[in-house]
């Protein structure tokens, strides 16, 4: 009987440990402790911009194209080509683009954090920080979270603009079943400013979870290079689960009671 409960107990313990770690790091940011290392936060922000922006935008743009193409052909096939803008608007803003952002964040940023912190852990660099009198969790993890919060809202909103442009190109320029004016009228009619905020919140919750999960697995990596590889894989699995969980909950919470199209029924 004990063996039957051993695995769930282990998962529960791990969840508690991850939760406590995340709480500590978020506390360091909210409490301002991270500002002792504001320069490092800015450095991390710079690294994020230089190394991840283009690839995230590229995925968001491609999925914007797909939203536009799918919507144009599907609605044309059902006799309502002028309404391609509805599909593109919701596909972009509510679902696919936040997921695209989450996927690429998990694949590029999350795994990058695990690999970097894990390598630092196994080569004693984290211990070296500690013995220099530097709180390594604040220096390595809280600074990365603050950097993400500084950079990612702008990166996400700009990427969303790129996805909108991609959908427009697909529907109006490539497929061409609807005029530019007709597409934009419907496209903007089915979204409003709070929707942007909700979409941004959804993406930022995903980003926060991804950065924290990456920090947790990297900071606590052990067992040499193999251990770092295992931690990277584990972080990717957990991040993909969290991205979908946050995406689903976000849609229900923000748009479940939307009078125009209640998703919650």
């Amino acid at each position: 009987m004990n063996e039957l409960f051993a695995l769930p107990r282990e998962w529960l313990a791990a969840t508690g440990e991850i939760g406590r770690f995340m709480g500590t790091v978020m506390g360091d940011v909210w409490g301002g402790r991270v500002l002792h290392f504001f320069g490092e936060s800015l450095r991390q922000a710079g690294i994020l911009i230089v190394s991840s922006t283009l690839v995230i935008w590229a995925l968001m743009f491609i999925l914007g194209l797909i939203c536009g193409t799918e919507g144009a052909y599907f609605l044309e096939a059902n006799g309502a080509p002028a309404y391609a803008g509805v599909f593109a608007a919701w596909c972009d803003l509510r679902e696919i683009i936040p997921y695209a952002f989450g996927y690429m964040m998990a694949a590029k940023v999350g795994t990058g954090i695990v690999a970097e912190l894990g390598a630092m852990r196994i080569s004693d660099e984290i211990d070296a920080l500690e013995v220099m009198g530097i709180d390594s969790m604040t220096f390595l993890c809280a600074t990365r979270l603050l950097a993400a919060w500084i950079v990612l809202p702008f990166l996400y909103l700009a990427g969303m603009g790129g996805a909108f442009l991609a959908s427009y190109i697909a529907v109006v320029q490539q497929v061409g079943f609807v005029s530019s004016g007709g597409y934009l009228l419907i496209f903007w009619e089915f979204q409003n400013p709070p929707d942007f905020l909700f979409s941004l919140i959804k993406a930022m919750v995903m980003a926060t979870a991804i950065v924290l999960v990456g920090c947790y697995y990297g900071y606590n990596a052990g067992g040499g290079p193999v251990g770092v590889g295992t931690a990277t894989a584990k972080s990717m699995v957990l991040n993909l689960v969290l991205v979908h969980l946050i995406g689903m909950l976000g849609t229900q919470v923000f748009w479940g009671n939307n009078p125009n199209a209640p998703i919650g029924g």
Partner: protein, 271 residues
């Protein structure tokens, strides 16, 4: 509490010959267990202030664990570790971080930050803990790097350095805050005999110039002969004997004699 079999300690006299100065670091009946592996089993020792001390012992006997206890990276399951008058396990996190500013630690592979070049690695503690301007930092960093023979390697990244250079760079970084206590975790591991000898000379020279309490962890007897002023021989998680190096090298203790002579016959086998 794990059971301790006293027959395992027949050579452990625990004799602590006085060094003539007060202890900077004290272990008081320290026990530490990892899973079923009892590493420290009632360790009591003192390491004298202002001297180069060596903790010597066979591999896997808890030497590196001792260093981690001294700097508060690990805490004892029971017992106490007192450094510069502070009980390490009793300190708050903030007090511990403050105390650590008095330490310099040289890790086995130098533990240089892979994303920073040599200059920035050595400058790192100064930039984090002092208000010094870049000119003053440059003066200190260049002096320390020259001291360890790396004056021309400022721009090199850690992955461009040999093992010996990384250790010397780590040594330079550990010295920039003028620490009161410098700890060396197997500084000779992975080095050829000549570079080991040069590093030992360097440790002696820097200590003679700067003073402070140096603690070197090693199992290399030649290094001990070259550098140590005080030796503590550790085996099975306890001190066998400790004292000024000359007295230890003349010890009648069977284990100490075997270990310090590097002989194959004696109490220490392959087990």
């Amino acid at each position: 509490m794990a059971v301790v079999k006293e027959e395992e300690f027949e050579f452990h006299t625990g004799q602590n010959r006085p060094a003539g100065v007060p202890d900077a670091i004290q272990f008081i009946d320290v026990h530490k267990t990892f899973g079923s592996n009892q590493v420290l089993r009632g360790l009591s020792m003192g390491l004298p202030e202002g001297k180069v001390s060596m903790i010597l012992g066979p591999s896997g006997t808890g030497k590196s664990v001792c260093i981690k206890h001294i700097v508060g990276l690990m805490y004892p399951d029971s017992g106490d570790v007192v450094v510069a008058g502070h009980s390490i396990p009793s300190l708050s996190d903030d007090d511990l971080f403050e105390l650590r500013k008095k330490f310099g630690v040289l890790f086995q592979d130098g533990a240089l930050f892979g994303s920073l070049n040599l200059y920035d690695n050595v400058a790192f503690p100064l930039r984090q803990h002092t208000e010094k301007g870049e000119d003053e930092i440059a003066e200190i960093v260049n002096r320390r790097l020259s001291e360890v023979g790396l004056g021309n390697a400022n721009e090199k990244m850690p992955n461009e350095l040999s093992g010996g250079m990384r250790k010397r760079a780590g040594f330079a970084r550990s010295l920039v805050l003028d620490p009161e206590i410098v700890l060396f975790d197997e500084p000779d591991s992975g080095l050829d005999p000549v570079r080991t000898a040069l590093l030992c000379e360097l440790i002696k020279e820097v200590h003679a110039e700067n003073g402070g309490t140096y603690v070197v962890i090693t199992h290399d007897i030649m290094s001990a002969r070259r550098v140590a002023e005080y030796i503590a021989v550790l085996w099975r998680g306890r001190i066998v004997e400790a004292g000024p190096s000359q007295e230890l090298f003349e010890s009648e203790n069977e284990f100490v004699r075997q270990f310090l002579a590097g002989e194959s016959s004696g109490p220490l086998g392959m087990e």
